[in-house]
Amino acid sequence: MLKVRIIPCLDIIKNKVVKGINFKNIRTLGDPVTLAKKYSDTGADEICMLDITASHEKRKTFLKTVEAIAKVIDIPLTVGGGISDIKDITTLLNAGADKVSINTTAVLKPKLIKLASIKHGSQCIVVAIDGKRFGKQMLIMIKGGREKTNKNVVSWAKIVQNLGAGELLVTSMDTDGIQTGYDQEMLRAINKEVSIPVIASGGVGELRHFKEGYQTKSTGLLAASVFHTSKFSIQQVKKYLEKEGIPVRIS
C-alpha cells in the first residue's frame, strides 16, 4: 500500500533555515545540512528546500547548499525558488535535486512546464501553487506572495497538470505560518479536479492537522517549523498517523 509522505521543508536564506509568518517576520531556525540529515535519518520520506529570496547574487551559495544536502541524504530531494528557465532546472538536477518546484515562472511562462517535462520527465517537475482568498475566490499569488494574479487555484492546477506537471505543492497563504491546520477547503477543491499527486503545505501546528491533510486526498504532507523547533519529531507524527489507521513508512 502506498504510504502518505511526511515532508519537512527547509526555507533557506543565506545558507540558514528560516521561518516567516504569512511570508513575513523572518527568523532563523538552524543549519540546512544538519537538519536535512537529521530528518533523512529519522524517517522523513522526502526533503523539500526552497530558496526564498532567490536573489541572483546569492544563487551560488544556494546551489552549494543543495549539493551539500544531496550528499548526506538517501531520500528524494525537491528544490524550489528562483527558477526562471530550463537551464536553472538542469543546474539544480545536476546539483542533486530529484525534483524541482516552479512557482512564479510557471505563471509567467507556462510553456516552461511543458518544455521541462518533455526534457526531464514529468516526474521531476513540481508546480508550486500559492493560493489566497479574496472574498469567495481563491487566487494564485506569485513572487513569494507579494503579487496577486487573476488565476483561480483550481483552474490553474488543471492547466499545469495538462502542461505536464508531475506533482503540485499547494500552499495556502491564508493558513501558512499560523499553525491552525492545512487549508482543507483549498486542498479538497484541487484534489477533486486533478489526478496528479498533491503535497499539502502551510499551517501545521498540531498532530491532528496531518490527519486532516491526508483526508483531503493529498499524498504528501509538508511541514516546517513544527519540525525545526522540535515541537514534533518525524517519528511522533508517523506513530500518531499509524494509530489513526493511516498508512505510513515506519523505518
Binding site: 500500500m1 520520506d45 538517501d74 528524494p76 545536476n94 526531464h120 516526474q123 499527486p197 504528501g220 513508512r249
Partner: protein, 210 residues
C-alpha cells in the same frame, strides 16, 4: 588484486548523480571501481552493469542507440551473462514492447509489455513509498526485504510477465511486478538510490552477490 569494475550507464535521460553517490558509498574500501559508461569502448573490463532511467521508454532506447551502446549492452548481458541491474525505465526496457505514445520494441529479455496505469480517480504517477512483497527470493533480493518500503515514481508498469521472472510485486490499485529477475539480469521498478537504508542494501547486494 585486480579491481572489479562497475559500469554505470549514463544514457543522458535523467541524472545519474544519486545512483553514483549510492554506489560509491557501497564500494568504499572494497575492491571495486566505478566507471561511467558513455560510449561502447567504456564497457571494456566491466564486471557489473547498472542502468538507471527516468522519463520515457522511447527516449532511453533512442539514447542508447545514439551513444551506440544498445547492441553492446544486449550482447554483454544476454550472451556474456554480465550481471545487470536496471532501475525504473532501465528495468522497463527489458520488456518486449513499451507502449508510451506508440509501440516501441524493447530488449525483449523478459517477455511482457510496459503499459500505463489506467483507472478512474487513480493518482498518477504512483509516487512515494510502497512495500514490496517478495514472491521468489534470489541471491540479491532475499526474504529479509519482504514488506519493506521503497521509493517509487512511475506511471507505467510491466504487464504480463511470466511468474517465474517475478521476484516481487507491489500493490497500487492492482499488483504489478516491482522486481524482476532472469538469470544474471535484475530489474527494479523503484529507486533503490532514493530508498534510504533498504535501497543502499539492495545496491550492495547487487554489487557483492549478483
Amino acid at each position: 588484486m585486480k579491481k572489479k569494475v562497475i559500469g554505470l550507464i549514463d544514457s543522458g535521460s535523467g541524472n545519474i548523480g544519486s545512483i553514483k553517490k549510492a554506489i560509491l558509498k557501497t564500494v568504499k574500501y572494497k575492491p571495486f571501481t566505478l566507471k561511467i559508461i558513455n560510449s561502447k569502448k567504456d564497457f571494456k573490463d566491466v564486471n557489473k552493469i547498472i542502468l538507471p532511467g527516468q522519463g520515457a521508454f522511447a527516449t532511453l532506447i533512442d539514447n542508447l542507440h545514439k551513444k551506440n551502446l544498445y547492441k553492446e549492452l544486449l550482447r554483454l548481458i544476454s550472451e556474456l551473462s554480465i550481471p545487470y541491474l536496471g532501475i525504473c525505465v532501465g528495468m522497463q526496457i527489458l520488456a518486449t514492447y513499451g507502449h508510451e505514445n506508440k509501440k516501441i520494441k524493447g530488449l525483449d529479455i523478459i517477455g511482457g509489455d510496459i503499459v500505463k496505469f489506467k483507472k478512474k480517480n487513480l493518482i498518477i504517477p504512483h509516487m512515494g513509498w510502497n512495500n514490496i512483497h517478495i514472491k521468489k527470493p534470489n541471491k540479491v533480493f532475499d526474504n529479509a526485504l519482504d514488506q519493506k518500503d521503497v521509493y517509487f515514481v512511475h506511471s507505467f508498469y510491466f504487464k504480463s510477465v511470466e511468474k517465474k521472472y517475478i521476484t516481487a510485486t507491489t500493490k497500487y490499485h492492482h499488483n504489478f511486478p516491482s522486481i524482476v529477475n532472469k538469470d544474471n539480469i535484475y530489474g527494479v521498478q523503484f529507486h533503490p538510490e532514493k530508498s534510504h537504508l533498504v535501497g543502499m542494501n539492495i545496491i550492495k547486494n547487487f554489487i557483492f552477490k549478483a
